[in-house]
Structure formats: C-alpha cells, structure tokens
Amino acid sequence: MLKKWLLAAALATGLSGPAFAETVNILMEGVPDTEYVKTLLPEFTKETGIEVNLEVVNYAEMHTKLVPQLVAPKGSYSAIVVDFYWVGEFTKAGWLQPLDERIKADNFDTSVYVPKLMDLVGRVDGTTYMLPFYNYAMGLLYRKDLLADEKNKTDFKAKYGFDLDVPKTWDEYLKQVEFFTKDGINGVVNQGLRPDPIAMEWSNYLFANGGEYHDANWKATLNTEAGVKAVEQYATNVNKYGPIGSASFSFDEAFNVMAQGKAYSYITYNFFRAGIDDASKSAVVGKVEIMPVPGTEAGKGGSLNGAWGWAIPKSSPNADAAWKFLKWVESPAIAKKRALQGGSPTRTDVFDDAEVNAKYPYAKALKEMLLTSHNFPVFTYTPQLVEVLGRELSLAVAGEKKPAEALAAIETEMTELAKKDGKLK
C-alpha cells in the first residue's frame, strides 16, 4: 500500500527515478494481444529488475489519454502503442523518438518484419519510429461446411457453370454471396456503421476490384471504374444479400450474425478467427475458416492491412528502460510465446515457426493475407479521411447518393486534406 502510494507520488511529481526499482509505464488497449504481453511480464522483471506497469483502457479513451501526456515536456508514459490511424498525426507533431540509433547500437534486426507492416507502423519517410506490435489485417471468414455440401456443389455448378470451392477471385466470391442467400441464411454480413467499420470494410472491396486510394503522388484515384464497382457491390451486399439492418452494424453485431450461423461470409479483422471457435460465443465452431480477401485474379489479394506499433514518446521519463522493454517484447523468443497464446504476429520468423503452425493451422493464411494486403493512406489526417469515407459510403448505401457522386465528394475532401498535409503538391 505504502509502496503504491510512494510510486504514485513519485509519478505525480515526475520524479520517478532510480530511488526505487525502475518502472516502465505503458498505456495499452484492452485486447487479447495486451493480455498475452501481460502474462510474460514477470520474465522481463526477473531478467532486468525493471517493473512494468500496463495501464489498460478501451480504444475510445486512448487518444484522449495519450495526447496531453505526449504534449507535456515530461509525460507519464515510458512507452506507448500506436494505432496506424495515429501514425501520421504523432510523427507530424513530433511526439515520437526516432529509434534508428538504438536499433543500430543493439543490432536489432528489423528486416524480419513483414515489409508492409514496417511501412504502416514502423518507418515514416525513412526514419524508424516504431516496432510493429501486432497486426489486424482483414480477411474473409467463410463457412467451409456450406462449401463442402454436395447439394450446394451440384446446384452451384448447374447455376454458374463452374465448381463451388474456396473463391479464387473476387468475382467468384460475389457469385457465392448471391448463391448462399437462401434458406434463411444471408450470403454475407457487413459492418456498415459510420465511420471506421464501413470505411475499413469497404477498403477491401476497393482493393479486391484492383483499386487504390491514391497514386504515388497522392493524387486520389477513387472515382474510377474499380471504385464505382466497389461501392455498387458494397451497397448490393448490404441491401440485397445481407441481413436487415447491417447498414448500422458495428463489428460485434456483424460478428454475432456470423457466429449464430446466419451468414455464409464476413470480411473482418483477423482476430475474430479465434473467436469463431470459442463455443461460448459461437454456434459454428469448427465450421468457419479465414482466407485473404480474393482479388481480381488468383494470387492477388484484396485485404486491408492494419496494425499497432510500439513507440517511445519524446516525453518519456525513462526512454532507456522503455527501449529495453521494447527490445525484449519484440525479441524472437517473446514474440513467439505471444503468438503461441493466440497473438497475431508481425515477424516472418514467427509466422514460419513450426510450433506456431502446428497449434494454429490458419497461421499460413494469416501470413498470406498480410503479404497480399494493401495499406490504408497514412498521413496526418487519416482519422478525418475515415470520417469522410464513412459519411459518403453510408450515404451511397442508403441510396441518397450515386456511387460516383459519393466518390467524387471523397476525392475532393481527400485532396484538400493531402494538400493541407503537404503530401500533395
């Protein structure tokens, strides 16, 4: 009790120094991957003598808690975790310490990270600010039992003229969505709630049609054939093949529809793959598998990438200890232990590990998903862009705007934001 009080007092006055055992304070989100880190912390304290204090809150609170501490000359967090949403804002505002010198001094190998993740939550304009922590790329959850059903196979072949199997292309998948909307089951369930559920899910539709958000010079490329098709397909899936109300579903509601066996497929974050086999939440245990969102042709993926990174803020009271922790938590041994508990890896060596693959046969699909995934635009105004996307896509799904109109509106605002940020000249 007294120790806690003293610690609090020391923190409050910003004097947390070597008088006691050193403590690394980290603000984290209450998600499974945080729990996995928590179980391993005693090992770190035993090795280094440094205590780790995780302050776990839910996502909505994180940004508001972080900003005041990041702006302060000396904040209370030694290290932080950064969602890819915030990368542009945090680096532009100059709140994160570059890690390159520490990486070099300790010969920490960053080449083992999946390159797309380093682009998303690692390096910004050539400087390394973060180490990728876990990934939440989106994949396609589908009912393998329905695919294997003999009657479905013959009916499908008779209707479409090709075999019913795991979809190799996006068009094949869309036909399956149409086909499986029968017998009280929906072909697909969508998460149509503004802003991030719909924006994130629709991004997969855009990539699956071969589209991208912008070209190399940040010129918006949304109001294109691929973009229009993506909006039309999305609206059709929500309004025609989806369950009633999916225009307002967040991911938990959509997941419940899938988990209750009421839908053939659901494009969502990879961490739901573990949830679908949890008998306390799901009525379709063992019947669902995950795969990369298929693209325009076999081998091309349409998945949206997503990830969190570890970083040390400039306001960190004890950056050296924080780096010791980062080095430890991202070491091969600890990264593997996290993955074995169900964590979502970012390192290729962990993905290829035999033990991990033996325990989680879908690890291969998750890796494939990452390798063929596409990144969302990362810049200072990423959250604002998500907001605009959410509004316009939701209007298009509600039939209040034509797809091309909605996309034109997004392009206008995206161009404005990219100019404001100096990305677009």
């Binding site: 508001t64 509600a398 209040e400």
Partner: protein, 308 residues
C-alpha cells in the same frame, strides 16, 4: 418577490443614502458569496472566454498555439459548411420532437400520478431508474434490444406478425429510433419535475371551482395550466438545453448514420475538434450553438413571463 423588490430598491439608492449597516451587510454578502463566485468564474466563465478566444485563432491540435489570429474566418467557414448547417437543422428537429413529446407524455403521467394515493414511492423509484442510468449504457442496451435479427424488440413484434423493423439501419427510421430511446431515458425527468410542481399547487382554487360546478377539463385548463406555467417554463428550458447537447446516444447507436440521418450538432462539433483536430473551428461552432441556445432561453423566459 418582495425580497427582489427590496433588493432593487437598495440598488437604486445612491451610495451616500445607504446606512452604514446596509453597506456592511452588502460587503458581508459579497464576502460569503466570493468563494462560489470565484469557482463559477474558474469552471464556467474562464472556459467560455477561452473558447471564444480560441474561436478567432487558427488553433489546431497539430499546432496548438495562438500565433495566427484569423478574425471571423472560423465562423464564416462553419456557417458556410453545408454539413454543419444540416446538423443544426437536424438538431432543431430532434430537440423539438423530444421536448414536445416528452412534455406531453410527462405531463400526462404526472397528472395521473398526482391523483394516486398509494404506492407513490414505488412509482417514483421505478420512474427514476432510467434517469439514473448513464446514456452510454442506455445506448448499448437499446442497441442490443434493437438488433434487427437477434434483438428482442423485433422478436416480440414477430410474435404478433409484424415484419422486422430496420431500427437503426434505415435513414427514414433511425432518427425516430433515437427520439424514442431518448424519450424512454429522459421522460421521467419531466414527470418528476412536473409532479413536484403539481403537488405544490394550492387546493383552494380547485375547491372553489368544484363549488361553481366546473368540469375537470375546465379546471385543468383554467387553473392547473396557468398556475403551472412557471414550472412548465423551467422544465422545458432545462430539457431543451440538455436535448441540444445530446451526443452520447448518437455516438453509441448510429455514429450519425445511416448516411447523415442522425448527425446531431454536438457530435459534429466533437468530430471537428478531435478527429479533424481543428479546435479553432470547433470553438466557433460551439459559440454559434451557445448564441442560439441563449437566444432561445431568453425568448422562452420572456414569453412565459408574458403569459403569467
């Protein structure tokens, strides 16, 4: 009334004509009021002035400083933004709907409860339950109830042969769903306040009316309503101000969607500030909202006074 009149007379007197005792009394009054006045200044006036000051500067979370003064730019930009104007109109509609419906319903229930003799405490307790709940929890509970295929509301409707209603996913229904949930949550506030007013009414006028043979409707219209006007005014005013600030329900239930069907102004201002990082413009929007609410308050106050 008399106190206020005394006070006014006191104020009108030239300083020299006030006796020493009166002056000392006034000094003492200021002295004991000063801590609370100081606190009010710190927690209310200071933030308001800070927001007003911010609203005429280019203040963003990326560059949180007052280096660039930009006059009324933030105001013209906000008023020129069709999305902001849409949220203002939508909020006006929403406020009118919830305040009027809650008032009608609340008054009805209050009148019925006023004549109840037994178990009043139990009715009170039940009525207060929704009011004690956090709006976030109310939103979450109703989101579950209203799930179109897995929720209990549509299930119950299906038992009587009604097709599932798309409560939150249809642009035509969503705002009314929010209105309905808000009524469920807030109507007891109206009931409790109006009931307090009703039970404080004098009995004599009613007895006189009964002797004169007035019907229940007539005595309601000619006695209850006029006597209740001050209470009604205050109740409407408080509810109106709270309704303008509605944010939590929308945040939890629809995020302003589908489309822009439930995008209320408070949620829009929040997004301008913390998603768009533009504190300056968000402050300007808040100032506009403040002006509108103050105008409404003054108008309602004057109107109600003119009636009594």
């Amino acid at each position: 009334m008399t106190l206020a009149a005394d006070d006014r007379r006191l104020n009108d007197l030239p300083r020299a004509e006030q006796t020493a005792v009166e002056r000392r009394d006034r000094m003492f009054g200021w002295l004991i009021a000063s801590p609370s006045l100081g606190l009010l200044f710190l927690v209310i006036l200071f933030p308001v002035f800070w927001a007003l000051y911010t609203s005429v500067h280019d203040y963003t979370l990326i560059a949180p400083n007052f280096d660039t003064f930009n006059g009324i730019d933030n105001y013209t930009k906000a008023l020129g933004d069709p999305e902001f104007r849409h949220t203002l109109w939508l909020t006006a509609f929403f406020v009118a709907a919830v305040v009027l419906l809650e008032f009608a319903l609340g008054f009805l229930v209050a009148l019925m409860l006023n004549s109840v003799e037994r178990f009043k405490a139990i009715y009170y307790a039940i009525l207060l339950c929704p009011l004690l709940m956090n709006p976030v929890i109310v939103g979450l509970i109703w989101r579950m109830f209203l799930h179109p295929s897995l929720g209990i509301v549509n299930y119950l409707l299906s038992l009587v042969g009604i097709d599932p209603v798309n409560w939150l996913g249809s642009t035509k229904v969503a705002l009314w769903t929010i209105v309905m949930v808000d009524i469920w949550h807030q109507v007891s506030f109206m009931i409790v306040l109006l009931l307090a007013g009703l039970s404080a009414l004098p009995r004599e006028p009613y007895e006189a009316a009964r002797v004169d043979g007035a019907s229940a409707l007539r005595s309601f219209w000619h006695i209850t309503v006029p006597l209740m006007l001050p209470v009604i005014a205050v109740t409407l005013l408080i509810r109106l101000i709270f309704a303008v600030k509605t944010y939590d329900l929308v945040y939890i239930m629809t995020r302003g969607g589908p489309g822009v069907a439930t995008d209320l102004v408070s949620y829009f201002i929040y997004r301008t500030a913390f998603v768009g990082l533009n504190i300056g413009e968000a402050s300007a929007m808040s100032a506009i909202l403040l002006a509108v609410i103050m105008g409404l308050t003054v108008w309602l106050h004057r109107y109600m006074r003119s009636l009594t």
